[in-house]
């Protein structure tokens, strides 16, 4: 009985280490790369978005030939998944580029969904994902198989796997063009609750957008550092990586300003947290706020005095 129990427990100890390499091996065979595989029906989604943009969304885009734009784009689908350069998208960009209205550019880091909500589909602002050459690829993934023609639907390389992957090169190429075509007041939305810092010193904005801004077309750059409602305030204007950005823009000769929690965007963040103290203004605190800071302080002081009195009187008893 004991021997049987011993064998059983030995078996229980042994099978995970035996099975695990098998499982890992199987997983490794299934996902060669660390990123998501090609989006199913990529061509139809691409063509649909292109048609919708050209027809319904923007007058800037004029008469775009979506079939030709797709033909220019799909050359990268024949290339080795780790040999796609930003310049491979030149023909695609040339056919799909259009002007960006002055003062409507919005650059950002680490707040994609908030940017989409705020820009209102080109009505308020026009971030890269609301420009034709940004819209067609937004949230999509694509790459060729490693050792065969045809798309890889299992996985695609990210920057962790190799630098010259199809998707990163696309965004690098699109970012550079977007910067070149931006003019007037430039808006930048950063995430001040991001633990790694609001301004990534190595990122799309730092490496592929700032260097391509056209100084003669730009009046000034306005930075908004947004903080999550009830979230940590990791950095604000003038602090940490935001200071690094401000210094860099200064050195480049741009006029710039910075606002913490730019109200129009903050209101949007409050929609889902309407009861949170950061978003609430009840009548009591409203009157305190509206009164002079002096009155607020005196109120505070008189409370302290009455507390002290209460303490001393109770200690005397």
């Amino acid at each position: 009985m004991a021997a049987q129990g011993c064998t059983l427990s030995l078996w229980l100890w042994l099978w995970p280490p035996l099975l695990l390499p098998l499982l890992l091996g199987a997983r490794a065979a299934a996902t060669r790369w660390s990123g998501e595989g090609t989006t199913p029906h990529l061509q139809s989604i691409f063509l649909g978005r292109c048609a919708e943009y050209a027809t319904l969304l923007s007058l800037q885009s004029g008469n775009k030939n979506c079939t030709a734009i797709w033909e220019a784009f799909k050359v990268v689908l024949d290339k080795d998944p780790c040999s796609v350069l930003p310049s491979d998208y030149d023909a695609f960009i040339n056919l799909s580029r259009h002007s960006i209205p002055r003062d409507k550019s919005l650059f950002w880091e680490n707040n994609h969904l908030l940017v989409m909500s705020f820009s209102e589909n080109t009505r308020r602002l026009m971030p890269l994902c609301d420009v034709l050459y940004g819209k067609v690829g937004d949230f999509l993934s694509w790459c060729r198989q490693e050792n065969a023609s045809g798309l890889d639907y299992q996985s695609c390389p990210t920057s962790e796997d190799c630098e010259n992957n199809a998707v990163d090169s696309y965004w690098k190429s699109a970012s550079m063009q977007y910067s070149r075509d931006s003019s007037g007041v430039i808006n930048v939305m950063l995430n001040g609750s991001e633990p790694k810092g609001a301004y990534p010193v190595k990122g799309f904005f730092a490496d592929f957008e700032i260097p391509y801004l056209q100084k003669d077309k730009i009046t000034r750059i306005e930075i908004w550092v947004m903080h999550e409602v009830g979230g940590p305030v990791v950095e604000s204007c003038g602090e940490g990586s935001v200071k690094i950005l401000e210094d860099r823009l200064e050195a480049l000769g741009f006029q710039h300003s910075c606002i913490d929690d730019y109200p129009p965007v903050k209101f949007l963040m409050c929609v889902d947290h309407s009861a949170h103290p950061d978003c609430v203004m009840n009548s009591a605190s409203a009157s305190m706020q509206r009164g002079s800071p002096y009155l607020y302080t005196t109120g505070h002081v008189s409370l302290m005095i009455s507390l002290l009195v209460a303490l001393t009187s109770s200690s005397q008893v």
Binding site: T39, P40, H41, S44, I45, F46, L47, G48, R49, C50, A51, E52, A54, T55, L56, C66, S117, F118, E120, F139, I259, D260, D261, Y262, P263, P264, V265, K266, F267, L268, C270, V271, D272, S274, D278, C279, V280, M281, A286, Q289
Partner: protein
């Protein structure tokens, strides 16, 4: 001079050599031939499509519709990725192509409605009336509620135009009926009536409606909400309808909930055994209005503490 006279010689002509039976056969054959030529002309002669005064089918309609279907089922709501988008497009088209665009019926859209089934979670339905843009901004930001245009069928068709023509199996890209042409049973209007009804029938739990308090009648009986949706709510599935009456920010605050228009809605619902609740300027939606007007009195009290 010889007297050439042609005299009628009865019975002495080539046709009369044929028997009576043959004459009849020839006559019938001739009639049939003429008839088939006429029929061929009627059915095969390319006819021009009917001409209307309204905007035509949206350019690139099939590409846009298909793209939206794929984006919705593959990216936005991946639990619906088993839907066959090409089949949905074809079923949609069959409802109105090759037909007179003023004779579209609910039954025409029945195959489409049967094909695309989607369950909306309870307490997540948001109706709207005369407040489309604000309602959509709200669901887009909040991310958990559904207007009709956040369901697959509504998402695909929103802001598009379409119609067919009896002379063609394709959509009409030249013109479609205008609202002033006395053509209420057109493909677009019938579509929205049908899907609005299904949307209301399927709603469960506590449902919301966003109304426009800056109008004299926030609850308008001739609107789709007032004429279709309200009457297709199922009292066995819905126990409460909550109205958010939003006023333009410039208008400041007012009390529409106690007005006669909303009272009418309350009575209709009471008769149907559905509880009614009403709120003026529902706060989360007010925040969306403040995005455009952060300096306005109703908004600046709150924005003063941002960034502090």
């Amino acid at each position: 001079m010889a007297n050439y006279e042609f005299s009628q010689v009865s019975g002495d002509r080539p046709c009369c050599r044929l028997s009576r039976k043959a004459q009849i056969c020839l006559g019938v054959g001739l009639i049939l031939l003429i008839a088939s030529i006429v029929i061929a002309v009627i059915f095969l002669w390319p006819r021009a499509p009917l001409v209307w005064r309204g905007e035509p089918t949206t350019k690139h309609f099939p590409e846009i519709f298909l793209g939206r279907c794929l984006i919705y089922t593959q990216i936005l709501q991946p639990e619906m990725s088993d839907q066959d988008c090409k089949k949905i497009l074809n079923t949609f088209k069959r409802a109105f192509v090759s037909k007179n665009p003023c004779n579209i019926t609910r039954e025409d859209y029945e195959p489409l409605v049967q094909l695309v089934t989607q369950t909306i979670p309870c307490n997540k339905t948001l109706f709207w009336s005369k407040s489309k843009h604000l309602a959509h901004e709200y669901t887009w930001v909040q991310g958990k509620m559904f207007t009709l245009e956040d369901t697959l069928l509504g998402y695909m068709a929103d802001d598009l135009r379409w119609c067919g023509d009896p002379s063609s199996s394709d959509m009409n890209y030249d013109s479609c009926p205008h609202w002033s042409e006395n053509c209420p049973n057109n493909p677009v209007s019938v579509f929205w009536k049908v899907v609005s009804q299904k949307f209301a029938e399927a709603a469960c739990g506590v449902v919301q409606v966003m109304l426009n308090g800056s109008l004299s009648e926030p609850f308008y009986k001739n609107s789709t909400f007032g004429s279709v949706e309200v009457f297709n709510l199922n009292p066995n599935k819905i126990h409460k309808l909550q109205a958010w009456v939003m006023h333009n920010i410039e208008a400041g605050s007012s009390n529409s909930c106690s007005g006669s228009s909303l009272n009418e809605l309350k009575l209709i619902l009471q008769k149907r055994n559905i509880t009614f609740a009403c709120q003026d300027n529902y706060r989360p939606v007010r925040f969306i209005q403040c995005v455009k007007n952060p300096e306005h009195a109703s908004c600046s009290q709150i924005s003063k503490q941002f960034g502090s």
